[in-house]
Amino acid sequence: MVKSQIDHASLAIASPVRRSIIERLALGPASMTDLAHVGHISLPAADKHLRLLGDAGIVHKTKAGRVTELRLAPAGLEPVEQWVRRTTLLWEGALDRLDAVLAAERSPR
């Protein structure tokens, strides 16, 4: 996995406003107005956040007539999720083994 992709995606979700936008979009497509409302922000501010999420490949923009519809592109979050999953598994496994080794060392046998 290309590292910059991970950084890009993790940066995109580093803001509480953007996380609330992603959570809303996880429920289904929404308009810019919906998302501004969800994030308690102005339309221009929502547009800025959505552009950043678009650059990270997390949110896709489509035009349906006069209405701009935003939807989640779940693949955009994958690098972060993969890193989190891999790192969590690594340490959980390691610490389980650490506990077992230390417990064996201390057993009175």
Partner: protein
């Protein structure tokens, strides 16, 4: 930047738990025992290096200790090493001046707390840090994103 935090209570005193991370013979018994060809190198002092590598599995990491405070705290940098990853990067045209900066340096911070004389809580915080070369196109694109993010600082939001 993303941080994974794992907390585990393990058997053993504070000193036992700390030694398990800083004594290469103990580390080898629990870190990757399932990869028996793993080579462990440890120099647990600030500026000293740490590395584990399994050639068979083509996986490993290397880093530098930034904090060594027996028996309560350890911190080190973490760079994954894999011949496959390096090859992929080379074919992608990544001629690097500063390899660490290109690879992305992660950090690991470990805090040991005594629960009882025979039990210790180990809290691991593993962070993926943003490190990219300033000289290539990717780095430049990244700087642009950083600038745009700075403009979106929540404290300045309308």
């Amino acid at each position: 930047m993303t941080t994974v935090r794992i907390e585990r209570e393990v058997a053993g005193s504070l000193a036992d738990a700390f030694r398990a991370f800083t004594d290469v013979d103990v580390l080898a018994r629990w870190w990757w025992p399932h990869l028996p060809d793993s080579v462990y190198r440890l120099d647990p002092r600030p500026g000293g290096s740490i590395s584990v590598r399994s050639a068979i599995a083509d996986i490993g990491f290397h880093g530098t200790f930034t904090t060594v405070e027996p028996p309560t705290r350890l911190a080190f940098t973490w760079i994954w090493t894999s011949a496959a990853i390096e090859e992929a990067r080379d074919t992608a045209g990544g001629s690097s001046v500063d390899e660490d900066a290109e690879q992305g340096v992660e950090t690991v911070d470990i805090v040991f707390t005594a629960v009882t004389e025979a039990r210790t809580r180990v809290l691991v915080s593993h962070t993926s840090t943003d490190q990219l070369s300033q000289t290539d196109g990717v780095g430049q694109g990244w700087n642009d994103v950083m600038d745009r993010l700075a403009a979106l600082d929540p404290t300045h939001e309308d």
